[in-house]
Amino acid sequence: MGLFADKYPNVAFEEKSRLWEEVKADPRFPTYLYGCYECGICVAACPSARFYDFSPRKIAQAAAREDVELIYEQMNDDVWNCSQCFSCNRCPRQNSPGGVITILREVAVRNGLRSAKQALEGYSRIIYKIMGTGTQVSPDMLQPDAFPDWGPQVRDVSADLDAWRRALPPETLHTVSTGWQVDDKTIIELYLIWHHTGVMDMIAEVDEGLHMILSDVMEEKLEEAGYQM
């Protein structure tokens, strides 16, 4: 039993343990956690700890103690607050609490945890962009309604986008819906990577709709190129 009241008593201990075993089975895990002095240096360096009720020290502690109930709680309630800046790599114990969080998130996604689905709500179009086109950020994402807090300058960009892109001297940057011009062959290779490494299965766990759209787009291109998935 953990030190704190179990916040998710309805989830079986065995299920929480299973997820924890998945975290530990990640080949990176042993080099991300060597124990914890509980010194708090990671917290002092952590940007998310300043603005959220969040602590990389607690994550490292729970993982070092193998407190599976607390880890399950963190996997649901905490990990999405992390900025993944790796300022916590300053740890004198050589831990990477941010790296542990990367793995916790990955396990949460792979297992379709509801909190992971919620955290990724509103994010699907970005996953679609990166997985489907090979570049994550495209000029046409700069729309005033998407970034009202960035001020009127975003409106200037979107108003004149096509001309502004053609006014870029590198030939590869005249694109509007991708960051740069990517070869078809390159995209096909990227799709093959997603298929062969289980990423498509992860997407199916967290967002069925997105999985369907991506599969359609990819299958068509892959078939054209002579691949049967």
Binding site: S83, Q84, G134, Q136, Q153, L168, W180, E189
Partner: protein
């Protein structure tokens, strides 16, 4: 001044003690190079050598790192190309101006790490396969990868660690690459463009046409440049006594501007990967409260210079709301590449594309003695030609002729 050019004294970061710290190699993590070549000898992969001539620089624990001068394959950044394209354009312009050969490839994908750090909808093998596919594509051209994005750079070094130490990941990736018909290639060094700028800073300074001696600058060192796989970030005993990364700061000193310190230099910018996209209240608050306001109060800089995509975006775009709330903000944000290009006489709009930036930068241009009104009128003339169909694109030749 001439004797001190390019030097930032240790006192600049340590006003409380006169103690000096020597590099202690016994505390250094294992040198990865030996293992990289060992795996080549075992037939596991090909090592792409840094092409000659190269510059040797010092890294955190006193080791040497080779930085290629030319024959570089430019691994572009989606955030730079998409939203702050003057960043990438300036890197290319510097190469052209220095007469160096490079490739701007279309057989390149993003590293996809922004999405990975934001959403975790991927895994170690997929991420490594994306990296190794790009490395193989570079190798096939004979040019050496130069990584524009700090996130890609940090992530590719993580990938290198995983490929070196986890045989199961290495073999999974090798099999994926085989299915793509690509060889498994590991570059001898993973090199960030800002390391190239650092290595070229004296040549850049030698071609400087604008006087920067009245400029006060703060530096935001990018987290994924020096906090991830920290042992091969550049350090230099002449810059802060080697106690902080020298990348960026050394360039600014070489260009004759004044680097000013501020207490939250180690803090990240607030980018957060997912936060900048779907939880920007955090990003805005962090960027203004922990970075820009502190810089303003403690250093009052004319500009903040940084060397990563997310940092330029976050620090620049977050200031609008801060200003609306009456916060002490208003510091223009540029990359080191844009700063260097401006020093060498680059056009602020045709090359540095400053109209993509949000925070008011015109007073900075005035301090650099740049007639921004005239430059903007020239750029408007370009746009007119593009819109009327008289020209399809603005080319490098147009830029060089202007």
């Amino acid at each position: 001044m001439a004797d001190d050019a390019g030097y930032i004294p240790y006192d600049a970061v340590n006003t409380k003690s006169s103690r000096r710290f020597e590099r202690q190699p016994e505390y250094a993590p294992q040198d990865f190079h030996a293992r990289v070549f060992e795996l080549e000898a075992d037939g596991e992969w090909i090592v792409q050598r840094v092409p000659e001539p190269y510059v040797e620089v010092m890294t955190k624990y006193g080791r040497k790192k080779k930085i290629p001068i030319e024959l570089t394959w430019h691994h572009k950044s989606c955030g730079q190309c998409g939203h702050i394209p003057g960043y990438s354009t300036s890197i290319f312009w510097l190469n052209r101006k220095l007469g160096l050969k490079y490739v701007d490839p279309t057989d390149q994908t993003s590293c996809t790490a922004w999405n990975y750090y934001a959403s975790a909808t991927s895994n170690a093998a997929a991420q490594a396969s994306v990296a190794m596919r790009n490395f193989a594509a570079a190798y096939e051209t004979g040019y050496y990868p130069l990584i524009h994005c700090g996130t890609s750079y940090g992530h590719y070094k993580e990938v290198r660690e995983e490929m070196l130490h986890h045989v199961e990941v290495r073999h999974q990736v090798r099999d994926v690459l085989k299915k793509l018909g690509k060889p498994l290639v590991m570059p001898e060094e993973v090199v960030h463009y800002s390391e190239w700028v650092h290595a070229m800073r004296d040549r850049i300074a030698a071609q400087q046409t604008r006087d920067f001696s009245s400029l006060a600058v703060t530096v935001h060192p990018a987290c994924h440049y020096y906090k991830l796989v920290q042992e091969d970030a550049i350090y230099d005993p002449d810059i802060y006594g080697g106690q902080r990364t020298a990348t960026v700061s050394a360039l600014i000193a070489a260009l004759g501007a004044e680097v000013r310190d501020y207490s939250t230099w180690y803090d990240c910018c607030g980018f957060g990967f997912r936060h900048i996209l779907v939880q920007r209240d955090f990003t805005r608050s962090f960027a203004t409260r922990r970075k820009i306001e502190v810089m303003k109060e403690e250093a009052n800089p004319d500009v903040v210079i940084t060397h990563d995509t997310g940092c330029v975006t976050t620090l620049d775009k977050s200031q609008f709301v801060g200003k609306a709330h009456g916060a002490n903000v208003g510091v223009p944000v540029l990359s080191d590449a844009q700063f260097a290009a401006l020093a060498m006489g680059a056009h602020p709009y045709r090359v540095c594309q400053l109209h993509w930036h949000s925070t008011e930068y015109r007073p900075l241009l005035e301090k650099m003695n740049i007639d921004h009104g005239h430059a903007w009128a020239e750029f408007q003339g370009d746009l007119k030609k593009l819109k009327s169909g008289e020209k399809e694109y603005l080319s490098w030749e147009d830029v060089d002729a202007g």
